[in-house]
């Protein structure tokens, strides 16, 4: 039972609603400390909603969301991040009225082991060069780096990353792959919503396949070859 003890996220029968529409229909999943997992699925399957529900951005949700053993289903959104969560939204969420450095420094500390600004600029040299530029003047790739860098500084040890490779050039996607591998080596827990399966496959420990608001399958990294048909069923358009 050692797996249970290092469980950092556990969703039990998670339902989520946008107004009248019922988006998640009872998701059960768990993520262990230091693990990198992906949420795969078609557009609209409920992957983004799952992340948003975890960070508290979905007003109407039921079931249970345990983070490091603490129930957060009823917590106000601003208290959830302080359990050590860092969230990178699909649209990146770079603030136009803040410059690069202000964007980087914006999220409050949520843990003690955050990367220093120097370390971050070493990891993302482009950001250092453009620290006084308006946040949204950066290229798409740089904005993505900034959105990631911003949560690394806070000391969050659970990273929820939504479509970080979307719309980026292959060379930048490769760089993000290296960064994720490094983060994993440093012991971060990562939940990755990803459309790019090749990207996800190279770095993930387990894949959760979400379909129509349900958890359709869980596939460990070493089963990917054997269960290729499952991916075809749920991911092919």
């Amino acid at each position: 039972m050692s797996r249970v003890s290092n469980e950092v996220i556990r969703l039990t029968d998670l339902h989520a609603f946008y107004g009248e529409s019922h988006v998640l229909h009872g998701i059960d999943l768990d993520v262990h400390e230091g693990e990198l997992v992906t949420l795969l699925g078609r557009n609209g399957a409920g992957r983004t909603t799952t992340l948003r529900a975890i960070v508290g951005l979905i007003g109407h949700r039921t079931g249970s969301i345990m983070i490091k053993g603490e129930e957060t289903i009823k917590s106000p959104p601003h208290t959830i991040a302080h359990l050590g969560l860092g969230y990178c939204p699909e649209e990146r969420g770079i603030f136009a009225s803040l410059n690069v450095e202000e964007n980087l420094m914006l999220p409050p500390q949520v843990g003690s082991k955050g990367m220093s600004v120097e370390e971050i600029y070493e990891m993302f040299p482009n950001l250092a060069e453009r620290r006084k530029s308006q946040g949204t003047r950066l290229s798409g790739g740089e904005q993505q780096m900034l959105a990631l860098a911003r949560i690394l500084r806070t000391g969050a040890d659970i990273l929820l990353l939504d479509e970080i490779t979307e719309g980026l050039a292959p060379v930048i996607v490769d760089r993000l792959g290296e960064v994720l591998a490094e983060l994993k080596a440093r012991g971060f827990t990562v939940v990755l919503v990803e459309q790019n399966f090749h990207f996800a496959r190279a770095i993930a420990d387990r894949h959760f396949i979400i379909d129509q608001g349900h958890l359709a399958a869980v596939i460990a990294a070493d089963e990917v070859e054997a269960k290729a048909d499952v991916f075809d069923d749920f991911l092919s358009v």
Partner: protein
């Protein structure tokens, strides 16, 4: 020189410019508060004029009942009005979060009518006198015109408040939170920032500025229940010209519109009451987001 050429005595020109600058000082401080509130709450705060009046009445009562002078009132009245604002935000405005802007506008408009109505009932519509502080009595003769010290102080105070607010918003961590909260409050909250508290404080600060303007106005205009109701309409025009939610825009436009109003009094007195609204109409047609507003 120019004034001589146009056949206008410099006393008249500079006199009106100074009067305009003083009106502009009030426009600036009031529209600054509205800009802060609109940015964070997305509410057009129609109660602003009533809260400005509350600031003036607070200084009046501080003096009459507690014997606290103008300088004490300058600190205490904004705190009192800010506290009233926090109560209003916490118990009334917060319930309207997420619904159409129109509801916030109606609620604050109703509040203004209630507050002003109560004050008219208890204190009458005519004004109560508030003395000019001893240190600022008299004035200085600049040769071409006489400047009362108190009016010069009002302009200086307004500039200090504008610069301070700009610094607070553009150069501090709280300011970064407020700007981010204006843009995307839900994401800011997901990062772990207590956005509801930030919103309450923003409203408190915005109305405290209205309260401060009320203190500054007390020795000039007398303390009257309806002192804010006329002024606030012009201030809304200033906010529209500057750009809803723009701090810089509110401050600069406030001072500029006061001056333009003053100049109009010299060259075409009949138009002085409407010139700001004409400018507003033109700005709305050419740049709907306002001179300093970001087009979304």
């Amino acid at each position: 020189m120019l004034a001589d050429l146009l056949g206008i005595p410099p006393q008249l020109l500079f006199g009106q410019l100074l009067l305009g600058l003083i009106s502009g000082a009030f426009y600036a401080v009031l529209s600054l508060g509205l800009a802060v509130i609109f940015g964070m709450l997305n509410i057009v705060n129609f109660a602003h004029g009533a809260l400005y009046m509350l600031g003036a009445f607070a200084s009046y009562f501080l003096l009459k009942i507690l014997g606290i002078n103008y300088w004490g009132a300058l600190i205490l009245a904004p705190i009192i009005v800010g506290a009233a604002g926090i109560v209003i935000e916490r118990f009334l405005l917060r319930r309207l979060a997420g619904v159409d802007h129109l509801y916030g506008l109606l609620l604050t408009f109703g509040l203004a009518l209630v507050i002003e109505g109560l004050f008219v009932k208890f204190f009458g519509a005519s004004g109560l006198p508030y003395p000019t502080p001893e240190a600022l009595k008299g004035g200085v003769n600049l040769g071409f015109m006489f400047v009362p010290w108190y009016r010069a102080w009002v302009v200086v105070a307004a500039v200090i408040v504008c610069v301070f607010t700009w610094w607070l918003f553009e150069r501090t961590k709280v300011g970064a939170y407020l700007r981010a909260g204006t843009e995307n409050p839900t994401l800011l909250q997901a990062f772990g920032v207590n956005v509801p508290l930030l919103t309450t404080l923003a409203y408190g600060y915005g109305v405290a500025l209205a309260g401060l303007a009320g203190v500054l106005a007390a020795p000039i205009t007398q303390v009257a229940p309806l002192m804010g109701s006329n002024l606030i309409i012009t201030v809304f025009a200033v906010v529209v010209i500057g750009g809803m939610g723009s701090i810089m825009g509110a401050a600069v436009t406030g001072l500029a519109m006061g001056m333009i109003e003053g100049l109009t009094k010299v060259f075409w007195p009949e138009a002085s009451a409407t010139v700001i609204f004409v400018i507003m109409a033109i700005v709305l047609v050419i740049r709907p987001a306002g001179l300093f507003g970001r087009t979304a």
